[in-house]
Structures are given as C-alpha cells and as structure tokens.
C-alpha cells in the first residue's frame, strides 16, 4: 500500500481491536460450532468406522487389525448378497412408483379447487408422522390373522385364502415397498407441486394456442422445466431409501428367514444384535461407494444447472 506517500502530519488512528469486522475472522467464528459438532460426530465416526471395519472387534473384545478380512467374509455371505440385491430392488422400484404417483398427485393438486390448502396439509401427514409409528399401523393392517386388507378383499370376493403379507419372502418385500411408497409419495408430490407452481401458466396457454394437446403440453413444456426439481428430489429420495432402516426393522426385522434385509438392517443385526461390531461396520461402509456415487452425480448436476 502507498501508505508512506502520506505526509506525517496526517492523523492515522490505530483502529480499535475489531477483529470481527474482518469477514474472514467473523466467518471463522461463525463456523466453529458447526465444524466442532460435525467433526466430532461425522468425520471422527467415519474414520473410526473405517478402522473398525479393518479390525476384528466384538462387543467387549478389543480387536486387532485384520485388513480386508471382514469385507471378504461379508462378500461371501449369502445374506449379505441378498441384502445388496434387496436394497437395489427396494430403491429402484420404490423410486419409480414414488416419482410416478407423486407427479400425478402434484398435477392433481396444481389446480384451484375448494379446500386445496386443507388437502395439501393432510396429504403430507404420512411424511411428517414418525415413520416407526405409522409403519406399525401398516404392520397391524398386514397382520397375518387380523388383516383389515384381507378382510376387505374377502368381503369384496377377490380372495378366498388369506394373503400372508409379511410371512412370504417375496410378498414381504412387496409389502415393504408399498409402505415406503405410501410414505414417500407426499414428499414427491409437494416438492414437485412447488416446482410446478414456478412454471408460468402462460407457457401452458401459449402451447395450447400453438395447438399442443394436453399430453404434448406436459411432455414438451412442463416436464423439461420440472426436470431440475425432479432430479434433486429423486436423488434425495434414492439416498434416503438406499440407507433405509426403520421401515424394514419394524415390518419384518429382516425376515422371514433373512429375506428382506437391507444394508442397514443387516448391519444392525450383525453389529448390534450379534455384537460383531467390525463386521457390522463393514456392512454399513459397503453402502459408501454407492452413496458417494449418488452424491457426486448430484453435485455435478447442481453445478451444471447453476452454470447454465
């Protein structure tokens, strides 16, 4: 700085100590609490988890370093393989249904009708009510002996035999998928509705005047403009679903015969249930590459949208 160019007669007060007037210091101070908590309970556990997975720790027994043995063991474990398949199937199927039904519901809500605010408020209930609690309601509805769904289907003449919703391995996964879709549709619908509301109705009108039929209007006008919101909502939902725990834990606990385990429930069963902490940590961490991939896709996508 050309400070020395000024003559000595000029008063040059030394500013009082105002460190927080410097943006960098203030930013640092404001970020400290967050950094401490996230460092202590995210970064540290992550490192700890990696170490644990390379160890042979059990509850009460300090393990020693075993390299990738846990991963090797887990990889040759048929329950783990089922869990991997289940997780991908569960994530894929539920996401398709949540998106399709959510979009449909969003379109139904994106009009003026009486009681719209009330309907919108009620529709979100499955999303805000604690999952464990609402899942119990479903479990009760799927009860092998007292199922109200079976009762209704029987009364309507659709079935003569009871459907063992949670007792049959294939059907159990389907039941879980139904509950997940039920819980997720409101989130999709409300988020997509917000996206729909940012699209100017004049665009629809212009397309209609240009002779586009409703389906064409949706495909050529609405859908492309809705795509950014859709992408973000889908990626969020994929991560949540992929790492899901509570729904399966309550509905089947991973059964029958370990047929409905996901990564998280199997990790819980190994790590907490059986006390094989290291193997449980390894199963948990096995989710990481996929989650990482999704996060990278999401970041790239956000960056692309922002720079466009």
């Amino acid at each position: 700085m050309a400070v020395t160019a000024v003559s000595g007669s000029v008063a040059r007060p030394i500013p009082r100590l105002r460190r927080m007037e410097d943006e960098r210091w203030l930013a640092f101070a404001l970020l400290v609490p967050t950094a401490v908590l996230l460092g202590l309970f995210i970064a540290y556990p992550f490192v700890e988890g990696v170490l644990l997975s390379l160890n042979s720790t059990r509850v009460g027994i300090k393990g020693e370093f075993v390299g990738l043995k846990n991963f090797d063991k887990v990889w040759n474990d048929s329950i783990f393989r089922t869990s991997v398949w289940n997780t991908f199937w569960y994530t894929g199927v539920t996401t398709v249904f949540k998106l399709a039904l959510g979009l449909w519901l969003a379109i139904l809500l994106n009009r003026h009708f009486r009681g719209k605010a009330l309907v919108r408020a009620f529709i979100l209930l499955p999303f805000i009510i604690p999952t464990v609690l609402s899942t119990f309601a479903w479990k009760w509805m799927f009860d092998p002996t007292f199922s109200v769904i079976n009762w209704t289907l029987f009364q309507l003449g659709f079935i003569t035999q009871r459907i063992n919703w949670l007792g049959d391995p294939d059907l159990a996964m389907t039941s879980i998928i139904i509950v997940n879709v039920w819980r997720g549709v409101p989130f999709f619908a409300i988020s997509l509705l917000a996206g729909l509301q940012t699209i100017s109705p004049e665009l629809q009108e212009a397309a209609a005047i240009d002779g586009a039929r409703p389906w064409q209007r949706f495909w050529h006008v609405t859908w492309p403009l809705l795509l950014p919101v859709t992408m973000v909502v889908v990626l969020f939902s994929v991560i949540q679903t992929f790492a899901d725990f509570q729904l399966v834990y309550v509905m089947t606990g991973g059964g029958p015969a370990n047929a409905t385990h996901l990564f998280a429930t199997y990790a819980y069963q190994l790590g907490i249930g059986t006390g094989l902490l290291s193997e449980g940590a390894a199963v948990s961490l096995a989710m990481f590459p996929f989650l990482f991939l999704i996060v990278v896709v999401q970041l790239l996508y956000i960056r692309r949208v922002e720079t466009r």
Binding site: E23, P33, L37, L38, W140, T145, A281, L291
Partner: protein, 283 residues
C-alpha cells in the same frame, strides 16, 4: 384453462384425488379406530362373520390407560420432547450462524465448505451408527439424552445451514451495508437486521428440525437401553412387544399419541413446514 365437461373433471381429477387422499390417510384412521376399540373386537380373524372392522360401538380408553399405567410412555414423551427441543435449538444456533457465513461473507474456501456441508447433509445415519455407538460409549454418554442431543445435530445442522443459506441469499446485501454505515458492527448488523428479517426461514428450519428429531429412530434405538431413557419411537417398538406378541391396542394408542405433538406443531406451521421442505430440496 377450460377443462371441459364436468364428468371429465370428475374422472380425471376429483376421483383420483379422492383415492389418493383415502389411501394416504387410511392408516391414520386405522390407528385411531384401533386405539379406541376393545380387545374383544380387535382380535377377530379376518374372515370372521358379523365383523365390523371400520367402526366400534364400544369405545374404550383401556389402551391409553395401559400405556400410562403399565409402561413409561409419559416419560418417553417427555424424553422425546426434551431431546427434540434441545437438539433443534443447538442445530438452529449452529446452522443459522454457518448459513450466514456461507451465504453472506467472503472468505477463502467458502465454496468448498458449502459443498462439504451439503455432502454431510446427505450422509445417512445408518452409515455411521456402529462407530458412533462406540464413540458415544467412550464419551460415557450411552443411555443418556445427551447421546442423542449431541448426535442429532449431525443431520440437523447441515439441513438448517442449507435452508438458511437459501434464505440469507435472498436478503439484499445493502441491508447490512446500511446497518454497518449506521454504526453497527458486522456482528450487530447480523443480530439486529439480518436475523429478524430471516425469522420465517429460521422458523421453517426449526419446525423441520423438530419433526426430524422426533422421527429419528436408529440412533435412539442403538444408544439408549433402559426403558426410562427411551424416546417414543423406540419405547413403542421395544416395550409393547413381548416376544412375538404384539399389544396392538396400546401400540396403536402409543403411535397415535406419539404422533400428536408433531401433528400439532405441523398444523400450526404448515406453510413454514412446506417452505422448509421445498427449500431443502431447492437449496
């Protein structure tokens, strides 16, 4: 726009919407009706004759009384309330400050830090619960509310930060420049000018954070063990099932009562909640 004949409106809009609402709300109806139905009516086989599953003429409070007399349900409610409230306050405090720094201050690595926060926002609890359980034990926090109060912020802070960044970015920067010229320090400009303007955002973030912590399950399941320390979701799961016998009446009563505080908070702040929800995906 003109939608055509009335029957089209019914077929394409009203009937599907009614079906959606019915399916989305039926489980809650089922929860309510089960809560007030006596055991004698509950446990009737699905194909029994003269069975009226959708209504009861003999409503009872037995299940609710059972909850409060035979289990620590009251304690669980208080625990959950306390844990959710304190962890929400902590997360709001951290998230508002961090969001302010990331959205409105220029400093090296601001962009990188924003990305880090966003990534932690996406870290699911199920990825880290086993090592975290070890850490909680080492810190001697196991089986105390603090094990949850300190860990819930790990998913609440990134969320609050992300949401608040969006709110702060929308406030014109001249406001705090003007305040600083008016004689406020950066800190005072933030406290007196920007935070009051961002109150709707803070409220949204707070309500959302509260419902998220009320919902949390796996940390509570893993970190808490004694019945008196449990939160509602964990208490209901572990204390109302004996082996494979489910006490459906009390279970549904617990589910219903456990949902009420969230539902009340939600009903008062629907708009804030929705803007929090949509803001959380928009960023």
């Amino acid at each position: 726009m003109i939608e055509g004949a009335a029957w089209r409106k019914w077929v394409f809009y009203n009937i599907p919407l009614i079906l959606f609402v019915f399916v989305l709300l039926f489980p809650f109806y089922w929860m309510i009706i089960t809560t007030f139905r006596p055991d004698g009516e509950l446990y009737r086989p699905w194909n029994a004759a003269n069975y009226q599953p959708f209504w009861t003429n003999n409503p009872t409070l037995d299940h609710i009384l059972y909850l409060f007399e035979e289990t620590s349900f009251g304690r669980w409610m208080l625990n959950t309330m306390f844990i959710a409230a304190v962890s929400t306050v902590i997360s709001l405090f951290c998230g508002v400050l961090a969001g302010y720094a990331l959205a409105r201050l220029n400093f090296p690595f601001a962009g990188g830090l924003g990305t880090v926060i966003f990534v932690t926002y996406l870290v699911p609890q199920t990825l880290l619960f086993i090592p975290l359980a070890e850490i909680i034990r080492n810190f001697r926090l196991g089986d105390t509310p603090w094990s949850l109060i300190l860990t819930y912020p790990t998913f609440l802070i990134p969320f609050c930060t992300w949401l608040m960044m969006g709110y702060f970015k929308a406030i014109p920067k001249e406001l705090e420049e003007c305040a600083r010229i008016d004689g406020a320090s950066r800190w005072k400009a933030m406290i007196y000018i920007i935070l009051p303007v961002a109150v709707p955002g803070i409220l949204s973030a707070g309500i959302f954070a509260f419902t998220l912590s009320w919902n949390e399950f796996i940390y509570a399941l893993v970190f808490l063990s004694s019945p008196d320390q449990k939160t509602v979701p964990v208490g209901v799961t572990s204390e109302l099932i004996r082996g494979d016998v489910f006490f459906w009446g009390p279970l549904m009563a617990g589910a219903l009562l456990g949902s009420i505080p969230v539902a009340i908070v939600y009903s008062f702040f629907v708009e804030h909640y929705v803007s929090g929800l949509t803001g959380s995906v928009k960023g």
